[in-house]
């Protein structure tokens, strides 16, 4: 049964059902470590079409707060498709692929699978000789992937280090980069503006995940929204198509991560819980817990804990 979405209706039940079967088959092959049984080229192309259309359906649901269940189901379907498809070889395209797949997984409430996916896939290597625009993009994407994976404090510390690294190197490389671009400099400048807002958003989220506050403030959603709104404006100024779509996805994913955070969930339960939470999140904890799983969130919402 398809979720109610005009995009999926236009895509057609047959195509969606085929993609469900194809992704299940591929997942089984991956689990059993067997080679593809069916010629992949055509299927890969068709699967990509369905996955991209699913992303369009997700986009249509991102801001519809009264349709959260549909957003979860469609995001999960898109995640299930993308994670069994071949990743692009080009480092930049590969990094973008990992990021959107991870965001869709988070929105589909498959956080544990996202962490596993990001652990097992090779991330694109940084290229020190690349231009500043490419380096800035790669650095910010790395920061976001680390926040999404959050395998312990190490990932969240590394995410913040990436942002500091970006600010440090900006003075050295930005001006020369923009001067080298001629007619394209204005477009690149707006792109950098968007990147810098996304870097600040990643930093806010990393700090909140570990500390439950940012500089003594608890209005995390508002702080994040301010950064994403400005990133979107920069994308619109220069018509940055891909970056705009990524920013919208990241903005909704960040909101979901804040809602999943153990700090957010327990704040509304009981103030005495705070010290307990600090313990299980702390650096000293062997396996710090930053998030609460969907069933636990539901139980807490219903006041059963």
């Amino acid at each position: 049964m398809l979720p109610s979405s005009w995009v999926l209706e236009a895509l057609g039940e047959d195509r969606v059902a085929w993609s469900d079967n194809e992704s299940a088959r591929r997942l089984l092959e991956l689990a059993l470590d067997t080679p593809h049984l069916i010629d992949g080229a055509r299927a890969e192309k068709d699967l990509q079409f369905v996955a991209e259309a699913m992303e369009l359906a997700v986009l249509d649901l991102l801001d519809a707060d009264n349709r959260l269940d549909e957003l979860r189901v469609v995001s999960e379907k898109a995640f299930q498709l993308l994670r069994v498809m071949s990743l692009p070889d080009a480092p930049d395209a590969r990094g973008d692929w990992l990021l959107r797949t991870a965001c869709l997984g988070i929105l589909g409430e498959r956080g544990a699978d996202v962490a596993r996916y990001l652990k097992h896939q090779a991330w694109p290597e940084g290229t020190p000789t690349a231009d500043w625009g490419s380096r800035a993009k790669a650095t910010i994407r790395d920061a976001w992937l680390l926040v999404l994976r959050k395998a312990g404090w190490e990932d969240l510390d590394s995410a913040q280090e990436r942002v500091l690294e970006l600010r440090r190197d900006q003075r050295t490389f930005e001006e020369e980069y923009l001067k080298s671009l001629g007619d394209r400099a204005r477009t690149a400048a707006w792109e950098l503006v968007a990147f810098y807002h996304l870097s600040k958003a990643a930093e806010i989220l990393a700090v909140y995940t570990t500390q439950g506050e940012v500089d003594g403030h608890f209005d995390i959603l508002q702080q994040l929204e301010a950064q994403f709104d400005r990133a979107l404006v920069a994308c619109q100024r220069a018509e940055l198509v891909e970056l705009e779509a990524t920013t919208r996805l990241l903005a909704r994913t960040a909101r979901q991560l804040v809602e999943n955070s153990i700090w957010t969930v327990t704040r509304s339960v009981d103030s005495q819980v705070a010290s307990f939470v600090k313990n299980i999140v702390s650096r000293e904890s062997a396996s710090p817990i930053f998030e609460v799983l969907p069933p636990q969130r539901r139980t807490l919402r219903e006041g059963a804990l």
Binding site: W6, V7, E9, A10, L11, G12, R15, Q48, F49, E52, A53, E55, L56, L59, D60, L166, R167, Q170, R171, E174, E175, L178, D183, R184, A185, R186, T187, A189, W190, L192, V193, Y196, H197, S199, K200, A226, Q227, R230, V233, A234, Q236, R237, A238, E239, L240, V241, E242, E244, A245, R248
Partner: protein, 282 residues
């Protein structure tokens, strides 16, 4: 259509009488043809005064920027909150770069497609009009074609060229118009990226029903039912050699229901003067 066509041997073109395409200037169809899913034609504008007026009014309004100043200050204040240095970006973005002829050519193409062909462009109010429109992946222009009761996603490539060669270099090679149109015809990933981008421009606006209809048509067709436009903007006399051969070559690649319309516009003012003429509006 070409009832009073006359052969102009020196120009290698068959020119019809002046027609009315719903534009603000007279147009003469000088050649046309069809092959499979591709149609092509050459249009000539003779009256330079009418053309000047069109550039300095209709086209100029697509290029001008009225609200950017105060918004820019807000953009820079917000940027400072990220902890990065803002001086280099601020200096660059507050400069007023001179218009390039190709930017005017692209805006002109949008205007003639809108007024003469029924293509609608969802307006981007947030766009910094001093930033060249060079970042759309794989398409210079993106909108909807309204044809009878049907609506299609419309994508386009625009090339502005004073190259004396026929066809001009801009039609050839990897970055040439024909290769770009061929790629646009066969890469759904580009279409869906552009549909995502259009989404934000159409949702909660008068364009939303158009968006839904064009997108649903596209998805039902498995990523094929779109209309592609290729516009070659020239300041030379018309000649079918400008596009005919390349159009026939493209026709062998494009599969129904995708359609392609190629138009060579032969305009009465040197391309290098277009920015200056368009700037006369203020």
């Amino acid at each position: 259509m070409l009832a009073t066509a006359t052969r102009n041997a020196a120009r290698g073109a068959i020119c019809a009488v002046r027609g009315d395409l719903g534009l603000g200037f007279g147009v003469t169809t000088c050649f046309s043809g069809t092959a499979s899913q591709v149609i092509w034609q050459g249009q000539r504008v003779l009256d330079a005064t009418e053309f000047d007026e069109y550039l300095s009014s209709t086209v100029a309004s697509r290029l001008e920027d009225t609200e950017q100043g105060k918004d820019f200050e807000a953009d820079m204040r917000a940027l400072a909150s990220t902890g990065v240095a803002t001086d280099t970006l601020e200096d660059l973005l507050q400069t007023e770069p001179a218009r390039k002829p190709w930017e005017v050519g692209e805006a002109l193409a949008e205007c003639v497609l809108e007024e003469g062909r029924g293509v609608t462009w969802p307006w981007n109010m947030e766009r910094d009009k001093r930033t060249p429109k060079a970042s759309l992946p794989g398409a210079d222009i993106v909108g909807f074609l309204v044809e009878d009761d049907d609506i299609y996603m419309a994508l386009g490539e625009v090339k502005t060229s004073f190259d004396a060669k026929r066809p001009p270099e801009v039609l050839y090679g990897r970055g040439g118009m024909i290769t770009q149109l061929d790629r646009l015809a066969r890469e759904p990933a580009i279409h869906l990226s552009l549909l995502k981008w259009l989404y934000a421009r159409c949702k909660s606006t008068i364009f939303w029903p158009m968006y839904q209809q064009a997108t649903a048509r596209y998805l039902r067709s498995g990523g094929r039912e779109i209309v592609l436009f290729g516009l070659l903007m020239r300041d030379m006399d018309p000649h079918e050699h400008d596009i005919q051969g390349r159009a026939q070559s493209l026709a062998s690649q494009v599969v129904a229901p995708t359609r392609v319309e190629l138009t060579a516009w032969h305009l009465p003012r040197p391309i290098s003067n277009w920015p200056q003429i368009a700037a006369r509006s203020a």
